[in-house]
Structures are given as C-alpha cells and as structure tokens.
C-alpha cells in the first residue's frame, strides 16, 4: 500500500465515514412443518416473513463456506428429501439479489412450487423422506469498532471484519435498503464517487463464491481502485 501515490484520488476523504456493523441471528422454530410438497406450499403462503428470510438469505450465511450445490433450504429440501430434481433446480436458481422485499421473494418461491405442482399432479401428496421445519430469525444488529474515512481504511477494515459483517452489508442490506445494491456499493458511489467500482462490487456472484471469496473479491477490486481508478465522479470538489 505504501507504494501507491499519496495524492491518489481514491484516497480522498469520503463524504461520510463508513461504520461497519454486523448482525447476529437466533433461530426460532416456527409453527409450520411440511411433510409433503402440498403442505409445503400451504406453509409457504402463511409462514412469517422471517421464515422466508431465514431459509434464503440467512441460510447463505450459515453455509457461507460452500461454493456450489447450495442455494437455499427450500431448494435443498425439494431436491434431496422430495426427490423433485426439477423443482429443486428451479428453486435453486432463485437469486435473492433480485429481491428487495420478502413479499416479492415469497411470491416467486410460491409461484415456482405452484407451477411445479400443477404440472405434476401426483407429487403434492407424496410424503417427503423428511419433514421440512420452518424456522425464523430473531436478529440483533451489532456495531463494530471498524470505521473507514477513506478507501484505504475501508479496504483495511474489510480484511479484518467478521464474515457476518460481510453478509450484513453485502447481502442482507438489499432488504433494508429496498435497492438492488448493497451498503458497500452505495458508500463507494455516494461517499467516494467510485461508481464504476461500486457497480463491479455489486456484480460479485454470491452463489459461486464463498463469503470469504466475496471478501477477497471486494478487496481485490478496491485495491485496483487504489492503483488505477476507473471513471470516477468528483466528490467534495476532488478530481479523480
């Protein structure tokens, strides 16, 4: 880092510092339980939003170290315990990054299961090998001591923060922001004017990278910004 030009644009102070947070979740066992795909569909319709969150967003955090073959709990159950490979694939292909509300995400999952059951009339009542138990998350947001006032500090902090913090800012943030973006990209764009880098960070594929991999990719992209910035919008009158 010391070899980089000191007056580099990407080292300008940010408009606002970035305060890193994290979140901790406790799984509460829900009232819904499904022993067949028919029951599963009914439960999907009436379970609390926290259950949809738990089995899609949250499970990505619990299984953050797996790179392939795991997308969400619903897909995993349909594939492994119901033997419905086609349905498993379709549920697996649902990308939580496309959703900024749980209602929309629930709608897509429900519609996917409905369509499958309409096309395969005999599977709705077939017992699954194991029941699906719906859970829901109780979440506590935690502050951390990490604060970044500029890009180098941000990159340094990224290297240190817990993986839960990456999930909190990069994945869960979509629901909080109701935008198809994440806290990191928003700050890079609004705080530092690094729009192109913000976009590249937002394009990182969370389904083909572990969360540790996501961290490394963000760091790598931003180290690129510190070396040679892409097109950047001036912030606070600074030329980039």
């Amino acid at each position: 880092m010391n070899s980089l030009p000191a007056d580099h644009a990407a080292r300008q102070p940010a408009r606002e510092p970035f305060h890193f947070s994290s979140s901790a979740n406790l799984l509460q066992i829900g009232k819904e339980k499904a022993a067949t795909l028919g029951e599963f569909l009914e439960a999907l319709r009436r379970c609390p939003d926290g259950s949809i969150f738990q089995h899609t967003f949250r499970t990505l955090e619990e299984h953050h170290f797996i790179r392939q073959g795991f997308s969400n709990d619903f897909a995993h159950w349909a594939y492994n315990d119901c033997g419905e490979i086609g349905l498993g694939e379709k549920l697996s292909a649902i990308d939580v990054r496309e959703f900024t509300s749980i209602a929309d995400l629930r709608g897509r999952i429900t519609a996917t299961v409905e369509q499958h059951l309409q096309r395969n009339k005999d599977v709705a009542g077939r017992p699954a090998r194991k029941a699906f138990y719906f859970g829901t998350s109780d979440t506590v947001v935690l502050p951390t001591a990490e604060v970044a006032h500029n890009l180098p500090e941000f990159v340094d902090a990224l290297r240190r923060i817990a993986i839960h913090s990456i999930h909190h800012h990069f994945i869960e943030a979509r629901l909080r922001l109701r935008l198809q973006s994440n806290d990191f990209s928003l700050w890079l764009e609004a705080g530092l004017g690094l729009s192109a880098y913000a976009a590249r960070v937002n394009q990182i594929d969370i389904y083909t990278s572990t969360l540790e991999g996501v961290r490394q990719k963000i760091v790598s992209i931003l180290e690129g910004a510190l070396r040679k910035p892409l097109a950047a919008t001036p912030v606070n009158g600074a030329t980039q």
């Binding site: 979740n25 509460q28 194991k130 506590v140 923060i161 817990a162």
Partner: protein, 460 residues
C-alpha cells in the same frame, strides 16, 4: 495454549512387558486375500498402555484463547453482544455436576459467561435413589421408551422438586433449567422478576405421551424453550429456539495435537500411518452399527487398501456393550487390519489422536441424537461418511460437508470412492470444518445464549 500433554505422553509407553491398566482389546490375525497388498508395512501389534486413572482436568480456557480459532472480529462480536448484559445474573440448574454432556457444556459455558461479566451460577438438583430412578425413567420415556407413569412417580418427582426449590433462591435475571429433572422448579417463578428458560437437551421427537403431558404444563410456564433440532420441537405456547449441541475446540478431545503425539498413539495401538485408516469412534452399541462398518470395510478392501479402527468405550460397565464387543470381534474374524479398541472414559486425547490420524471417519449410526462424534470428525477436517439419521444430516450435508449413507453397500462404496478421490475428500473435510466453525463450536453456543438473553430483555 500448549498442544502437548507431557504427562500423558509419558504414560503412553508401548511396552509388551508392562500392560498396566490396559482396557483394550485388539483383534488381529489373518489378512484378507487382497491381491497386491502383501507388500505393505506391518506395524507390530502390542498391548497398548493407557493410564488406568483419569488425568487431572486441564485449565478452563478464557475467551481470548478462542481468538486464533474464530478470529478477533468474531470474538469482538461476542463481546458486543454481552455488553448490555454486563451485570445481569443467571442461574443454571441441572441434575449432575460431573459426567454427561450437560455438565461438560456447563463446565465451559459458565466460566465464559462470567468472564463477560454475565454473572452465572450453577446449581445441581439433589435427591435420593427413588427420585433419580423416576427421572431416569422419565428420560427414557421422553426418548420414546415404554413406561407406565404412576401417581407415586409423580409424587416423588414433585416432592423432590419442592425440596430443591426451597433450598435454592431464584432472584436472578435469568433462570435456565436444563432437561426435565428440574423442570418443576418453575413453581418459583412468581418469586422474582427473572426470565425462565427451559433447555431440553434430549430428543423429544417421539415422547411418551403420559410423561410429556405431565411436563408440558410446567414447560409452558417458561418464557422460552430451547431444543437441539427442529424435529425435537413440540407444539408449545412459548417460543422455541434452536441451539445446536457443540464441541469445545480447546477440549482434550478437539484441541490441536502435536503430530508426534498422534504418531505415539498410533504406534501404541499398532496402527500403520503409512496406509489409509478408516475409523469409527463410538461406544459398542448396536445402534452405532459396528458390524455394518466391518462389513462395509470388508467390501471396500476388495478394491482398496485400508485399515479399520473401531474405538470406543462402554463395554466395561454396560452388559450389552460386552456382548456387542464380542460380536464385533467375531465379525472381525482375526483380520490383522481391523483394530478394535475398548477405551476407558478418560481417553479423550487418544480419541483425538485417532481421529486426527484417520484418512476417513465413519459414523454409520442406525439411530442417533445429534452425533457429536461427527462434529469432532468434521472439526478435524476429516472426510466423513455417516448414517442419515438424527442430527447427522444437519452436520453432514450430502456431498458438501461429507457423505450420507443408508446401507452397508453405500458405506463400502463411499469408503472406496473417497480413498481414491483425495481431492474431493479434502474439499469435504474443509467444508465440514467450516460448517462446525460457523455453527457447532462452543463460541457459537455462547453467542446463542447471549442473543437469547438480549431477545428476552427486548434488547435486539
């Protein structure tokens, strides 16, 4: 923290002439007629030497000791979680101070909570033989066993609970009651403002209806219940949380070991580390299917070279265990490469070393609670083949953190496959360790307790 256990190293001398305090049986004789395997190195079988008394307990770890394992940032999260709870008080109550998983857990959890200034005490139920006979019967009945709940049993249970209730004070901010034995202490709830939590460690998926209906009204007076698996949850009017059982990465059974010690243990038991080692660690119990493991090994051995280690305990004080051990030795048919070890209960370091020396770990259970031996194997990054029962699939996600099997044939195939696909085996082991790190370590358990306290106080 030192990885060495010099006292134990000294005790573990391999000496044919001094089999002092031995509690081990080794079956060995003719090898299978496996073509091409005649050249392998033979480690001479010796009578292994294990201390006949338990070693002194190691010092209790402090929170910072976990830093190298989970990272500073995660430790900081634990401290942040604890911050608003500083000065709060907790009373834990269970039915035994030594022995058993709950006492083992509390021995580590209570000091960590106190270090975080969440003042945590631990009290143990007292009672006579009649009381503990009733609670043992309740325990078995809640696991689904046959039982006739008599009025006398109810009265013994309630009377002893009342005596304990009068002996204890309940002014704490949180009262945590472990398992059914102390469940009736909830009668004291009205004496203080504290939140009451019932932590059920046992499998409630198929409880005896009479016993459960006796306990349910008590449980529904708590603020929250905790179970170890979603399938263990019952229909209750109070919130039920999921706390996975956990292992302590700094315990004798799970801590890092110096390779010299691992080698010493293998030498002591006559295990050849230059050849693949397939291991199942479990007590000699039919539900762990040790005969199925031997059959799977024999099938696999037609194609791949390996040794099989079956190590466990329970045969000394369990009449059925003795019978199962005899069956296991008969099934082994004097195969020189099947090493059967009946270990005393204080063999944690030896078990740790055996797991670390293994190429593959098998847990081919036919029925299982959570299966902490699987957690231990995954934590050591071992490719794990396990039965698809109980809490095992929560840990072993098929083809991602290990492989699940449903038959002897399936187990045999997976032994062959993983021994001949080391890259996949390595990846499974790596994923398995990460899975444990995220979900099944003592630090994750501590985090859950802090979260629950905050949630019950409305501090989320």
């Amino acid at each position: 923290m030192s990885n060495q256990s010099p006292e134990r190293l000294n005790e573990m001398k391999s000496d044919d002439s001094s089999p002092v305090g031995v509690s081990a049986a080794i079956a060995g004789a003719t090898q299978l007629g496996t073509p091409g395997l005649q050249e392998r190195r033979r480690v001479p079988r010796r009578v292994p030497v294990i201390s006949d008394t338990p070693p002194p307990p190691p010092p209790v770890p402090r929170l910072d000791d976990y830093g190298p394992i989970i990272g500073t940032a995660q430790l900081d999260e634990v401290r942040y979680l604890a911050e608003p709870l500083r000065g709060k008080s907790v009373k834990m109550v269970n039915s035994t101070a030594v022995g058993g998983g709950v006492a083992e857990l509390l021995n580590r959890l209570v000091p960590l909570l106190n270090e975080l200034e969440v003042h945590t005490g631990w009290e143990v139920m007292t009672g006579g033989n009649d009381y503990f006979e009733v609670t043992k019967a309740f325990h078995n009945a809640l696991h689904g066993g046959e039982y006739t709940l008599t009025q006398a049993a109810r009265e013994i249970f309630l009377a002893q609970s009342e005596l304990n209730r009068k002996r204890m004070n309940f002014g704490e901010d949180f009262v945590v009651i472990h398992d059914p034995q102390p469940a009736a202490l909830i009668e004291s709830r009205k004496e203080g403002p504290g939140r009451w939590i019932w932590r059920c460690h046992i499998d409630l998926s198929n409880p005896h209806a009479g016993v459960w209906e006796f306990l349910r009204p008590m449980v529904e007076r708590y603020d929250a219940a905790i179970v170890s698996a979603p399938a263990f949850a019952q229909r209750l009017s109070v919130p039920q949380y999921l706390f996975y059982p956990c292992i302590d990465p700094l315990s004798e059974k799970s801590k890092e070991l110096d390779d010299g010690l691992v080698q010493k243990v293998c030498d002591n038991f006559g295990i050849d580390r230059s050849r693949p080692i397939v291991t199942q660690i479990s007590r000699f119990d039919r539900l762990k299917d040790p005969l199925g493991v031997i059959q799977a090994y024999k099938m696999a051995r037609k194609y791949v070279d390996c040794q099989l280690v079956l190590a466990g305990g329970g045969a000394a004080d369990d009449p059925e265990g003795v019978v199962v051990l005899q069956e296991v030795m008969a099934e082994a048919e004097n195969d020189d490469d099947i090493i059967i070890l009946n270990l005393p209960p204080w063999s944690a370091v030896e078990i740790n070393a055996l797991q670390r020396a293994s190429t593959i770990i098998v847990q081919k259970s036919l029925r299982e609670g959570f299966g902490l031996t699987v957690t231990e194997a995954l934590w050591k990054s071992k490719p794990t083949i396990a039965g698809d029962v109980g809490g095992i699939p929560t840990q072993v996600i098929h083809n991602l953190t290990g492989v699940l099997v449903h038959s002897v044939e399936g187990c045999a195939y997976q032994i062959r496959y993983l021994l001949t696909h080391p890259d996949l085996a390595r990846q499974l082991g790596k994923n398995g360790q990460e899975h444990v790190k995220e979900n099944f370590l003592m630090t994750a358990n501590l985090r859950r307790w802090l979260l629950l306290y905050r949630i019950l106080l409305g501090l989320s």
